[in-house]
């Protein structure tokens, strides 16, 4: 918990620094993207520290492509056993 809050604080600091730079661009879209981006980033990093479930990229890719990948895998395995 301490770690999480420490990282939040640090992130806030980094965010403020970065925000100052983005402000100079005078683009609303950039500001919003940065803010939302930081929010998402914080969500992920905090859930990592607190051991909350985070979607795994591998599983996602696996779910979509595993059926197609299975034959490849089986074929390769057959060579490996030789």
């Amino acid at each position: 918990m301490v770690q999480a809050s420490f990282i939040c604080l640090l992130s806030l600091f980094i965010f403020l620094l970065e925000y100052k730079r983005v402000k100079k661009l005078q683009s609303k879209k950039d500001k919003w993207t940065l803010s939302i981006g930081f929010m998402i980033a914080l969500y992920f990093i905090v859930s990592m520290i607190l051991d909350l479930p985070v979607p795994s990229m591998n599983k996602l890719v696996g779910k979509v492509f595993q059926p197609v990948g299975e034959p490849f895998s089986n074929m390769l395995e057959s060579f490996q056993d030789q």
Binding site: G37, F38, I45, M57, G62, V64
Partner: protein
């Protein structure tokens, strides 16, 4: 911003070579020798030839609109919304490559060099370095690559020369008589591993300031591929099939074999250092492609806006990417193959076809 930046043709070639070597240099010998046995090097050669073929396809896409990156081309070819969707999927591919490489790096360092250091910390430090690279922009990345390149090539040759006394030709005999089918199969995971990833270069090829860029691309992939072939060959010659297959990082073990005059030994960490450099550029390129994708997708003013949040996201996803080294190998031989084929082969071919179709249509519209 990024449109104004130009890198030279030589720098582009160097980046391509670095990306081919990248993660592959240290793990490929183990993968191919598992299937192709003593003919593992032949698998790499096959994959290289395939990779060169792919580059021809990528070059054709680039040629259609030499001043547009892949995201812009997608929007141009498929319309704004479908284009954006495809861009997003492509970014997912880039994202996966980036976190994959990051993870491989973290795994390697925590198994071989820094055993007790948490993998998060190792990856964080690497990410911070990459972050600097991305923040400075492709021009600076390319220049840094140019600085490190001679060192990398020198180290590879030094490694190869220093272990030659240990090589035994019997280790790869009989040449191409048995296990040939295995050698063909072994090329499969390799297609996606270094070669189909080259599609990422389409995202900033318009930044290259050279008319012969297509040739540069081909040269890069060829040199990179041949270096991989040589490294695999030397691994097999020196370590033998069994050792090469059993070790997760055979090239690193190759470094342990160096022993000249009882003095030049124990320098395998130099192998790790070559590899740090190459994989650093690989991660940075993936990261950069991702970031400029976001810029194009959201029509941001400056690509740098999303860099910092992505440090967090990449780190977290890399940490949770897979629980173990074992799953990595599993994934590489199953879902990864169709996944990389989809984005490295199907999507580019689709783009080419769409381009042809569009040209025809455009031509018809113009002619009357």
């Amino acid at each position: 911003m990024s449109e104004l930046v130009k890198i030279s043709g030589r720098q582009f070639t160097i980046l391509v070579i670095m990306n081919v070597l990248g993660t592959a240099i240290i793990t490929v010998p183990a993968i191919v020798s598992a299937y192709g046995k003593q003919n593992g090097w032949f698998s790499v050669l096959l994959a290289t030839i395939f990779g060169i073929g792919m580059v021809v396809v990528y070059n054709a896409i680039y040629k259609k609109n030499p001043d547009k990156n892949i995201y812009q081309q997608l929007e141009l070819l498929f319309g704004k919304w479908i284009g954006k969707l495809l861009s997003f999927l492509f970014m997912l591919f880039a994202f996966h490559i980036t976190i994959g490489n990051l993870r491989v790096m973290g795994d390697f360092i925590t198994t071989q060099i820094l055993i007790e250091t948490p993998v998060e910390m190792v990856m964080f430090l690497a990410l911070i370095t990459c972050f600097f690279g991305v923040r400075y922009g492709i021009e600076v990345i390319a220049r840094a690559a140019e600085i490190f390149f001679p060192y990398i090539i020198l180290s590879i040759f030094l490694l190869l020369i220093l272990v030659t006394p240990e090589a035994e030709i019997t280790n790869i005999q009989p040449i191409l008589q048995t296990d040939v089918a295995g050698a063909f199969a072994g090329a499969l995971p390799l297609l996606g591993y270094p070669f189909l990833e080259m599609v990422l270069f389409l995202a900033f090829m318009q930044n290259v300031n050279n008319k012969r860029i297509e040739k540069q691309f081909l040269v890069g992939v060829t040199i990179g591929g041949l270096l991989l072939v040589v490294i695999t060959l030397v691994c097999l010659l020196v370590l033998g099939v069994d050792m090469t297959t059993r070790n997760i990082y055979p090239t690193y073990i190759l470094g342990k074999k160096i022993s000249i005059a009882d003095f030049l030994e124990r320098i395998e960490i130099l192998v790790a250092i070559i590899w740090f450099f190459t994989i650093f550029f690989k991660i940075t390129i993936g990261y950069y492609v991702l970031i400029i994708g976001f810029k194009q997708l959201l029509q941001l003013k400056d690509y740098k806006t999303t860099t910092i949040p992505f440090v967090y996201v990449l780190l977290v996803f890399a940490v949770f990417m897979r629980p173990s080294v074992v799953e990595q190998k599993q994934f590489l031989t199953s879902a990864w193959i169709p996944f990389s084929l989809t984005f490295g082969l199907v999507l580019p071919v689709l783009m080419l076809v769409a381009g042809l179709f569009k040209n025809k249509k455009g031509g018809q519209q113009q002619s009357p």
